[in-house]
């Protein structure tokens, strides 16, 4: 009988089997771990979305020092932080930079009663019920999820916003708690003190309960 396979066939077969036994599971594991710890590549993190109006948080929140709640008024009281209506922009910009070209869409919006369509940067799935007010009330810094917006010309997502990200904090909020008074300070996480969960808010008697599914899903 003649040889069916060449000498190199064995090398190829072994390579193939190794791949099957080793590389495929390894690749799956890598995939899984990118899900656990999303990278810039696998998620929307650090992607600066172009917006209809080149609004700069660095300028407004950083250089001018306008507080978050000036525009995101319901962050303290409601589930949603709220996008400012055109009116809010024009409250100032009817006085200053009245002719600026960049602000033309804003003026048009008010003129034509057409809302501005912003591109969403922070978007949770519909089955997740995130409530801003309860986090603000507990003294969770805005920056702990949104990053230091005073450094961002265009707003971008800095945290993965995955369930694990939420759970990490719900189980051990210490790193993110700055107290109610310092919540809006964009740089607080760099400089500020952290509070224990009991110091930050008087009514969390059982921090372990915070990872019940119904905290976020209804």
């Amino acid at each position: 009988m003649a040889q069916i396979f060449s000498r190199s066939a064995d090398a190829w077969l072994r390579l193939g089997l190794t791949a099957l036994a080793g590389v495929v599971p390894a690749a799956l594991l890598v995939l899984a771990f990118t899900a656990v710890q999303p990278t810039d590549f696998s998620s929307d993190i650090n992607v600066a979305e172009q917006q209809p109006v080149p609004f700069s948080h660095r300028h407004h929140a950083g250089e001018l020092g306008i507080s978050c709640v000036n525009c995101h008024v319901s962050a303290q009281t409601g589930a949603s932080a709220g996008f400012p209506p055109t009116q809010t922009c024009m409250a100032c910009h009817s006085q200053i930079w009245t002719g600026a070209e960049a602000l033309e869409p804003v003026r048009q919006s008010l003129l034509t009663e057409t809302p501005i369509s912003w591109n969403r940067v922070h978007d949770l799935p519909d089955f997740v019920y995130f409530n801003h007010s309860v986090h603000v009330g507990a003294g969770v810094s805005c920056a702990s999820c949104h990053g230091d917006v005073s450094e961002m010309a265009l707003i971008q997502q800095v945290e993965p916003m995955t369930m694990r990200f939420c759970l990490d904090c719900h189980r051990d909020p210490h790193e993110r708690l700055v107290g109610r008074d310092s919540v809006y300070d964009p740089g607080i996480l760099e400089t500020g003190e952290r509070l224990s969960v009991f110091e930050a808010t008087a009514n969390i008697t059982n921090p372990n309960a915070l990872d019940s599914c119904n905290a976020c899903h209804r």
Binding site: I4, F5, D10, L29, A35, V36, P38, T162, R164, L167
Partner: protein
């Protein structure tokens, strides 16, 4: 530890031990010839065509299911599990006979298994594949199947290891893989035979790669035998674990008619019983299709009949005990379910199962009857149907009428459930046709071991 007796060429004559005009080359030529020469081309093509048609039906049913949702089935509240689940249990059960024939009989040295084990194992594999499709298809959101498998993820949440369903995910997957592995290890020497006899390049490469360069060296035979025995030894616990898991899928819920401790052995016995029936059917079919009357002898058929009789009677005992248990529990819900099965809306399924499963096999008390191929086939077919009815009754009757009469309901499989079931039968046949086309349907080397080669100048003393 003594080597497994079944490997002895000279052991005491066993029931069905192959003997007769075979020579080593004759065995090889006959069995390999089926694969290499494709002798029944026309009939094979017709059969394969029919099964392919059913596979297409199966695919269409799945397409309809996935586009329109599981609502195309007849399932509802309270009967959320319909024949999808009873089919699963049925198919899984069929699979077990292959494992039992291969492993238990290997370990106990029953040489008559050699004519049956290869295709019985193939049957196991294909039955498990069919079984495995149903639970996936019956999911509301099958695309999220991977959540059943523990893996790191961004949710930080694993599966529920307390759920019998999760056990079954493990059990069925493991069963499938280990059956495949066991089958493959047993196939390696035969694949080498085919490699060495294949005439075309494709066949040589196909069988050559699968044979992994097997030469039949003394060292590899010795290692192979040890390995095969160990894997075989893993089989029965695996089957018991699997049937335990599958039975707990029902018994784990607090539902009258399900919630009893008898279920694991009960399911196991039913499974092996129905499996033997399907092996018997396949044996009769292959025997006549390929003229293997001297390889699959009447003794083999008789043994299968006897096994059906034994396991069937044990199953009947379980039935009786289940009813007794319901009565003895004095629990009115349990009794109600038992009465529903005996005389209520599911009486047809219950008595159908009893008659088809237990009345039929009584014929096998008579030796000549169980050695009759035609009768064996007929009885085996009826038992398969009966066992299907039993599974249907078990799943549906308990769900349809559990505790609160206000939520009692009814269930009838819809068109698309029947087509899916027919499609799964087709899938099984399709795979089986491919198997008999491309792989040796009887283990050549094990038959070779049984060949009583007339050895010129043989020295009996040396051979012991």
């Amino acid at each position: 530890m003594s080597p497994p007796p079944s490997h002895s060429i000279h052991g005491p004559p066993q029931a069905g031990e192959t003997s007769g005009p075979y020579t080593l080359s004759g065995v090889t030529d006959e069995i390999a010839g089926i694969t290499l020469n494709h002798p029944t081309r026309l009939r094979w093509t017709i059969g394969f065509g029919i099964c392919s048609g059913l596979v297409v039906l199966w695919l269409v049913s799945i397409a309809v299911l996935f586009t329109r949702g599981v609502g195309v089935w007849g399932v509802n509240v309270p009967v959320g599990w319909g024949i999808a689940i009873s089919n699963t249990i049925w198919w899984i059960g069929i699979g077990h006979a292959g494992t039992m024939i291969s492993t238990l009989l290997l370990m106990t040295g029953a040489a008559w298994r050699t004519s049956l084990n290869r295709f019985a194992e193939a049957m196991t594999l294909f039955a498990v594949i069919c079984a495995g499709t149903f639970p996936i298809l019956h999911l509301g959101r099958p695309e999220l199947l991977f959540w059943l498998i523990p893996h790191p993820d961004q949710l930080g949440l694993g599966p529920n290891f307390r759920s019998p369903l999760e056990w079954d995910v493990f059990a069925v997957m493991v069963y499938l893989l280990v059956s495949l592995l066991f089958w493959y290890v047993g196939l390696i020497p035969d694949l080498a035979s085919l490699r060495d006899r294949a005439r075309d390049r494709f066949g040589q490469i196909f069988y050559g790669v699968l044979a992994m360069g097997w030469t039949g060296s003394g060292r590899s035979w010795a290692n192979w035998r040890r390995s095969y025995l160990i894997i075989a030894a893993l089989g029965p616990p695996l089957v018991i674990g699997l049937e335990g898991g599958v039975s707990m899928l029902l018994a784990g819920g607090p539902i009258p008619g399900w919630h009893t401790t008898i279920f694991p052995p009960y399911f196991l016995l039913e499974a092996v019983f129905s499996g033997f029936a399907v092996v018997a059917m396949l044996a009769v079919l292959l025997r006549s299709a390929f003229g293997l009357r001297s390889l699959i002898t009447r003794d083999h058929l008789g043994m299968l009949g006897a096994m059906m009789l034994i396991t069937g009677l044990m199953t009947a005992y379980c039935y009786a005990m289940e009813l007794f248990g319901a009565w003895y529990s004095s629990d009115s819900f349990e009794r109600q379910t038992a009465l529903d099965r005996l005389f209520g809306p599911w009486a047809w399924a219950f008595w159908g199962a009893v008659i088809l499963n237990f009345a039929t096999i009584q014929a096998f008390w008579i030796k000549s009857l169980r050695r009759n191929g035609l009768l064996l086939f007929a009885v085996a077919l009826l038992v398969s149907i009966g066992m299907w009815l039993a599974r249907y009754m078990l799943v549906v009757s308990a769900l349809a009428r559990d505790y609160l009469p206000s939520s009692w309901g009814d269930y009838w499989p819809s068109f698309w459930e029947w087509t899916l079931f027919a499609g799964s039968l087709g899938l099984f046949g399709w795979l089986f046709f491919l198997f008999i086309r491309f792989l040796p349907l009887i283990s050549m080397f094990e038959i070779r071991e049984l060949v009583d080669e007339d050895e010129p100048g043989g020295d009996q003393g040396d051979r012991s």
